[in-house]
Amino acid sequence: MNWRAIGSLLLNIIAISVLFFLILTGSSTVSHSAAIAPYLALGFLIIVAYLTGILARELGFPALTGNLLAGIVFGPSLLGFITKSNIHSLEFINTIALSFIALSAGGELKLKSLRENASVISGITLSHTVLIFGGTLVAMVSFLNISGIQGIAGSRIIWMASIVLAVVAVAKSPASTIAVINEYKARGPFTDVVLGVTMVKDVVVLLIFAVSMGIIRGISGAAPFSLSFLFHTFGDIFLSIGAGLVYGGLMILFYRFVAREITVFIVIAAFLANELASFAGLEQMLMCMIAGFVVQNFSRQGALMIEGIEKSHLPIYVIFFSIAGAGLDFSYFGSVYILVTLFVLLRVGLIFFSTFLGAKLTGASPAIRKFAWTGFLTNAGLTLSIAIIVEKAFPDWGRPLKSIIISAIAINQLVGPVLFKIGLVKSGEVRPQSGRDR
């Protein structure tokens, strides 16, 4: 550990924080347009998140943990330098970043390696879906019946809330996984399996959620159980896959006939994909992952796309994870900490067990059996969307449930990347680096 570098980084972080505090204090004395505040916060966040990212690397953690921590410390939960309204205004950057990360995820997946690891990937995905969902459902129904959380009472509500928590337990964050893989430039079967499961699970979670919502609506009596919700989700998924195939094809055409300014192109492509997906009501992550996958595996231009991604990923990750960190809300944690702790620990245990079982049954290598679970802990965007949808549909019990889910996301986001980095190192597909390599 380079203590001099750590000291110098800390000094710079303190200096920029003091400077920003002075600017904020001074800005309250002059009249200015409210539209400026989010960009002012963004400038500060870029510098401070980047510095904490290097600091995290110096201390042996992934940079994204540093980025997230910067967001948490300077966000509304702690120091309040970045306000909730700033985060709300900057969210558009995150949706674009998400498209970029999904393109990158698809681009990292090679068909050859998927074929080689198909049984392991499907084994782990199946085992996750069944064991994590089932295990969480049973445990949460039992716990909520015994303990009783304010707002989640009565047998029907407990069942409905437990179903949602079970879906959340299965879900994971592809963005964090890709970020750690890109940061450490990990390559090999272990990485391929984690990526493959991540990609497949994204689709599986959407389906489970659709089925679960149908069941919950049936239980609540809001609507009789109907398959239409499920068909609608299936339709969305197929359309998103189709759109991803077409979008990937168009990207190939660009790489083939234009092939200039590939860094600018990949950013524009992510921006455009985000707009297209919102316009057509498609699954943005799925569409982009498929597009990236198509370019990588059905053209000779995959390397060109990866080159563009590697050149521009640092600013995107720093901004994305720092804003995500600032958006993490710990204010509810105090009131639901027992349930959140139990839920997080239960999820870790189930992920570990189901990954081990799925890997063992399909004859995966010892590294995958022992360490692949570390790659499935993080959860963020998709999980948050689930919480928001449930809150909107069932505000009475959806609101307290959302606070539980948000607190769990916060813990998983902080612990997950660190454990995944350890998993990657232990699997031998990455060498430990110093912060200076960043």
């Binding site: 570098a5 920029i16 002012l40 963004l42 966040l45 510095l51």
Partner: protein, 354 residues
């Protein structure tokens, strides 16, 4: 939502096709102004223009820093005195005469606010037509390249005189603070992409701070850049990095400027555009023909294009004084710069072909 999708597609297609077309036509130096035109066209769509305005500040900060980073006092000290005198006199002389001309022709003293913004000569256009071989050519190119330094100094001086003393204090404080702070940040060990990210952060923070305190981001970041260029050993790679990303940034800047200013369709706009073109074109022509500046040996058209700095200064003036004069004036100024740029490139090319 459809409008936004349409705009993104239009910008993407324009970005990748314009430069190819201009390259084929061998008028690559016109590159930039076409984005301004595209911006004018897109200004007709409702895109939440008010929310986009704060995005202009970082671009101005970036341009100011880029020019500041080019100012190396060692080179300036070694230069023959007459170079500096000529550049200073061009900046001061042309600005004053231009201001007077605009007032006399339009009878509107406020329009002269753009006079200084019409003084720069585009180095990109000039260097496209004049080869760097030969002492005479190099002298001319050198004159054009140091001109921005004097123009920005004059711009800072003009602000110190016209703005409130508190704004001047803010300008000095923020220039100093950010210069020292950036220097400390850049002295950490970074990989190139890390260095660029720090710089992006500094530029955004500095520029938006300027927006809050209503001071010029162009001037403040220019001084920060000058300080960095002369105290920080890592400035060369920084310069290389930000210069390498010049094209997309310029494109976005010009697009935004065009989108935010728009093109009004009233007679006042037409009259002020024509007045600026006439005065600026005529006076630049006269100044080029003054033997003392040593520009006479080359066709006058080479020095007609005011370039990106001109638009940056004009935009800086507009965002600081936006509330005090009609937006149509800024549009007139932009159209004038665009036409002068086109004259410079087209006439220069014709002269070249002959």
């Amino acid at each position: 939502m459809f409008t936004r999708l349409f705009v993104i597609i239009a910008v993407a297609v324009a970005y990748f096709s314009f430069s190819a077309i201009f390259k084929k036509r061998k008028i690559s130096t016109f590159v930039g102004m076409e984005y301004l035109i595209l911006g004018f066209l897109l200004s007709k769509f409702p895109l939440g223009q008010g929310l986009l305005k704060p995005l202009l500040y970082p671009f101005l900060g970036w341009i100011g820093l880029l020019i500041g980073l080019e100012v190396d006092f060692h080179y300036l000290k070694e230069l023959p005195r007459h170079f500096l005198t000529k550049a200073a006199l061009w900046a001061v002389g042309l600005t004053m005469v231009m201001a007077l001309g605009l007032v006399l022709l339009t009878g509107n003293p406020m329009l002269s606010i753009f006079a200084l913004a019409l003084a720069p000569i585009s180095f990109r256009v000039t260097s496209h037509f004049i080869p760097s071989r030969g002492i005479d050519n190099r002298t001319v190119l050198f004159f054009v390249s140091i001109l921005p330094f004097f123009i920005l100094l004059l711009f800072a001086g003009a602000q110190a005189v016209t703005l409130s003393p508190l704004s001047t204090v803010y300008m000095i404080c923020f220039s100093t603070l950010f210069a020292i702070f950036s220097r400390a940040l850049l002295s950490l060990n970074h990989k190139p992409e890390g260095l660029l990210l720090v710089l992006i952060g500094v530029i955004v923070l500095l520029s938006e701070t300027c927006a809050v305190f209503q001071i010029s981001p162009l001037t403040v970041s220019f001084f920060a850049g000058v300080y960095l260029a002369n105290t920080c050993k890592k400035c060369d790679p920084i310069y290389r990095d930000i210069a390498a990303d010049e094209k997309p940034l310029y494109m976005l800047f010009l697009l935004l400027v065009g989108m935010l200013s728009g093109i009004p369709d009233n007679p006042e706009f037409l009259f002020s555009s024509l007045s600026i073109i006439l005065i600026a074109g005529l006076l630049r022509f006269v100044f080029v023909k003054v033997p003392w500046f040593n520009l006479k040996t080359h066709p006058w058209a080479y020095f007609m294009a005011p370039g990106g700095l001109s638009i940056a200064i004009g935009t800086d003036i507009w965002i600081q004084n936006g509330g005090t004069f009609p937006a149509a004036w800024f549009s007139s100024f932009l159209v004038a710069v665009m036409i002068l740029q086109a004259i410079g490139v087209m006439a220069g090319k014709m002269g070249d072909d002959k």
